[in-house]
C-alpha cells in the first residue's frame, strides 16, 4: 500500500525518495565505469604497438612481429560484401513494411520473422552459411561466402531501422504529393525517402560497426589464420581482425610473445567499431536537430 501522508513530513518523504533513487544510480555508474575502464585498458596497452607500420605491414616471423594490414583489408572487404547484399534487400523490405504492407496476417508474419532473425545466435548463421553458401552454392571458404553470411545476419537490423525511419515521417508528407497527382512511389521517392535517409544511414552505419566485429559467422565460411596474399577475388580466403585477435589470444604457441600484437589488434578493431558508431551518433543527433516535425 502507498504509505506516508500524515505521519511523514513532505520534506522527509522527498529526501528518502531521492536517496533511494541515488542507490539505483550505482549500477548504471558502475557499468559505465566498467566500459570506460575496459576501453582505457585496451587502448593504453594497444597504443604501444600502434604505428603506421603496424597498420600497413603483413605479420612477420610467425605473427610475433610485423603488422595486421591483411586483417584490416579482409575485415573491410567482407563487411563491404555483406552490405552490398543487405542494404538493397533491407531497405526495400523496410519500404514495404513502412509504406505498402497492409495490416494483415502476412505482414505480421513477415515482421515477426524479421524480429526473430535478429535474435538468432550468430553461430547459427555460421552453420547456415556453411550449409548454403560454402557447400550448397559451392562458393567454398571465401570472402563471398563469409560476406553473404554476415549480410543475412545484419539484414534484420537494416530492415528494422529503415522501417522505423520511414514510419517516423508524418502522413501529411505523402498526402501532399498524392494531392498534386503523384503516384504512391513518387510520393515515397520525393517526400519520404529524402527525409528518412539520415535514419536509414544511421542503421546502416550501426550494422557496419557490428558486422566488423563478428567472428562466429565467418569462422567456418572463409576466415583463415594466415594467408600470404590478399584476397584478389571474392572467392579467396581472407584474414580478419576479430579472428586474428581470437587466434593470437588463445591459439598461438607463444601466447605471451604475441600479446602486444593481440592488444594492438583489439585496439584497432575497437577503434574501427567505435568510429562508425560515432559517425552514426553524429548523423542521428543532426537529424534530431533539423527535423522539426520530430520533437
Amino acid at each position: 500500500m502507498i504509505t506516508g501522508g500524515i505521519l511523514n513530513s513532505p520534506r522527509r518523504k522527498y529526501f528518502l525518495s531521492n536517496t533511494y533513487f541515488l542507490m539505483l544510480a550505482i549500477p548504471v555508474a558502475l557499468f559505465i565505469a566498467f566500459i570506460g575502464y575496459m576501453v582505457f585498458y585496451l587502448f593504453s596497452n594497444g597504443i604501444k604497438v600502434l604505428s603506421w607500420g603496424f597498420l600497413t605491414q603483413p605479420p612477420a616471423r610467425g605473427m610475433t612481429a610485423g603488422g595486421i594490414m591483411p586483417c584490416i583489408v579482409g575485415t573491410l572487404y567482407v563487411t563491404l560484401v555483406s552490405l552490398i547484399m543487405s542494404i538493397p534487400v533491407g531497405v526495400l523490405a523496410g519500404i514495404y513494411l513502412a509504406e505498402y504492407a497492409p495490416d494483415n496476417f502476412i505482414t505480421r508474419a513477415i515482421r515477426s520473422a524479421v524480429r526473430s532473425l535478429a535474435g538468432i545466435p550468430s553461430i547459427v548463421y555460421g552453420l547456415f552459411g556453411v550449409a548454403l553458401f560454402v557447400r550448397g552454392m559451392e562458393l567454398g571458404l571465401s570472402v563471398l561466402a563469409s560476406g553473404l553470411t554476415l549480410g543475412l545476419m545484419n539484414l534484420p537490423w537494416i530492415i528494422t531501422t529503415a522501417e522505423e525511419a520511414m514510419s517516423a515521417i508524418p502522413g501529411s508528407f505523402r498526402e501532399g504529393a498524392l494531392a498534386v497527382g503523384a503516384t504512391k512511389w513518387e510520393a515515397i521517392r520525393h517526400n519520404v525517402l529524402p527525409f528518412a535517409f539520415p535514419g536509414i544511414l544511421t542503421g546502416v552505419l550501426l550494422a557496419l560497426a557490428r558486422t566488423m566485429g563478428e567472428t562466429a559467422p565467418i569462422l567456418f565460411t572463409g576466415v583463415t589464420y594466415f594467408t600470404r596474399e590478399l584476397p584478389r577475388t571474392p572467392l579467396q580466403k581472407f584474414m580478419a581482425l576479430p579472428y586474428h585477435l581470437f587466434a593470437l589470444a588463445t591459439q598461438h604457441d607463444q601466447l605471451m610473445k604475441v600479446r602486444p600484437i593481440a592488444f594492438g589488434t583489439a585496439a584497432v578493431l575497437l577503434i574501427l567499431v567505435l568510429m562508425f558508431d560515432l559517425i552514426a551518433f553524429v548523423v542521428r543527433m543532426r537529424v534530431a536537430g533539423t527535423n522539426k516535425w520530430q520533437v
Binding site: I2, T3, G4, Y14, L16, S17, N18, F21, L24, A25, P27, V28, F31, I32, F34, I35, M38, Y41, L42, P88, L92, I95, Y96, Y100, I110, S112, A113, S116, L117, G119, I120, P121, I123, V124, G126, L127, F128, A131, L132, L152, L155, T183, W185, A209, G213, E214, T215, A216, L219, F220, P242, L245, F246, A249, T250, A262, A266, L269, L274, D277
Partner: protein, 308 residues
C-alpha cells in the same frame, strides 16, 4: 500516365518481393538445420557399416546422454546434456547478475534522467552491446580470469563464473534498454494518480510504474536470456571448455554454442559428427525462437494494456 502507374506497380512488386525474401531467410535457416541435423540420426549408405563413428545416433541418446565425446576411440558419445546444462548454468548466472542490476538501472534512467543526458547515458550503455564479442572475451581472458583466480585462490580463472559474469555484462545493455523503453510507455496518468494520493516519486516508481511495465520488463529479461544463451566467442575464450557437467563455479564449462565453434572445423564433412553439430544448431535455433516469441508476445501485451 500509363507508364507511371506501370512503374508504380513494378516498385510495389519489387519491395514486396524483398520483404518476402528477407522473411524467408528464417525459413531457410530452419530448413537447412533440420535437413542437415536429421542426417545424424538416419543411416546412410555412403558410410562404412564397420566404422563405429559412422553409426547413426539414437534420438534419445542424443537428447538424454550425459557425455559428449565425439573423439573417443571406438565409442564416440553424443549426449547433449552436459552442453545444454553448460549453456543454462552460465546463462542463469548471467541473469542473476544482469536482471536486478539492469532493472535498477532502467528505473533510474527512466525516472531520474532527462533530455540529452538521458540519451547520452543510454547511448553509452547501448554502445557496449555493439562491442565485438572477441574484444570482451579477450578482456575476460586476460583481466577477469587472473583476477578471479587470485580472488578465490583457484588455479584457473577460466570457468563457469567468468563466463557467467561476462555474459551478465553482455546482456545488461539489452535488459536496461528494453526495460527502460517499457517503463517510459507507462501512461502519465498512472503517475498523476499516484502523486494525487500523496505517493512520493520513489513509491510511484516502485509500486506503480514498475508493476505496470512488468510485461515489457519480462520481455527484456527474455531478450537478455536470448543474448546470453546465443553468445559464442566471449564464452569460448573464458569458459575453459571441458565438456563435463560442472560441479562448482570454478569448474570449466562447455556450452552448445562453443561446442559448435570448437568442433565444426575439425569434423569431417558429411560425417555423423558434422551433422550432430547441425542438430546442436537446431536446438539452439529452437531455444532462440521460443525466447523471441515469448518476448514479442509480452511486448504486444504491454502495448495492448495501455491502449483502451
Amino acid at each position: 500516365m500509363r507508364s507511371r502507374s506501370f512503374f508504380d506497380t513494378g516498385v510495389r512488386i519489387l519491395v514486396s518481393f524483398n520483404a518476402v525474401l528477407a522473411a524467408s531467410v528464417l525459413l531457410g535457416i530452419l530448413l537447412f538445420l533440420l535437413l542437415y541435423g536429421i542426417r545424424a540420426f538416419i543411416p546412410t549408405g555412403e558410410l562404412s557399416p564397420d566404422d563405429l563413428s559412422a553409426q547413426p545416433l539414437s534420438l534419445s541418446g542424443f537428447l538424454f546422454g550425459t557425455s559428449w565425446n565425439p573423439d573417443a576411440y571406438g565409442q564416440p558419445k553424443y549426449g547433449i546434456v552436459p552442453l545444454l546444462l553448460g549453456s543454462l548454468i552460465t546463462t542463469l548466472i548471467a541473469l542473476l547478475i544482469a536482471v536486478p542490476l539492469g532493472i535498477a538501472g532502467a528505473v533510474f534512467i527512466a525516472e531520474r534522467l532527462k533530455g540529452t543526458f538521458r540519451i547520452a547515458v543510454k547511448m553509452v550503455v547501448e554502445l557496449f552491446a555493439g562491442f565485438p564479442s572477441v574484444v570482451i572475451g579477450f578482456f575476460g581472458l586476460i583481466v577477469l580470469g587472473p583476477f578471479l583466480a587470485r580472488l578465490f585462490n583457484v588455479p584457473s580463472g577460466l570457468n563457469v563464473l567468468n563466463a557467467g559474469l561476462l555474459l551478465g555484462l553482455m546482456s545488461l545493455p539489452t535488459i536496461i534498454s528494453v526495460s527502460e523503453d517499457a517503463l517510459r510507455v507507462v501512461p502519465h496518468s498512472y503517475r498523476e494518480a499516484a502523486y494525487a494520493l500523496g505517493a512520493s516519486p520513489w513509491t510511484t516508481a516502485i509500486r506503480v510504474i514498475l508493476p505496470a511495465a512488468r510485461s515489457g520488463i519480462l520481455a527484456a529479461v527474455m531478450l537478455g536470456f536470448g543474448r546470453a544463451v546465443g553468445e559464442t566467442m566471449a564464452v569460448l575464450m573464458v569458459a575453459g571448455n571441458a565438456p563435463i557437467i560442472p560441479r562448482s563455479l570454478f569448474d570449466p564449462v562447455r556450452t552448445i554454442t562453443t561446442t559448435i565453434a570448437i568442433e565444426l572445423g575439425e569434423s569431417t564433412f558429411n560425417s555423423v559428427h558434422f551433422f550432430a553439430l547441425f542438430a546442436l544448431g537446431f536446438i539452439l535455433f529452437l531455444i532462440a525462437m521460443l525466447t523471441n516469441l515469448i518476448a514479442e508476445s509480452l511486448i504486444q501485451r504491454e502495448k495492448r494494456s495501455f491502449t483502451l
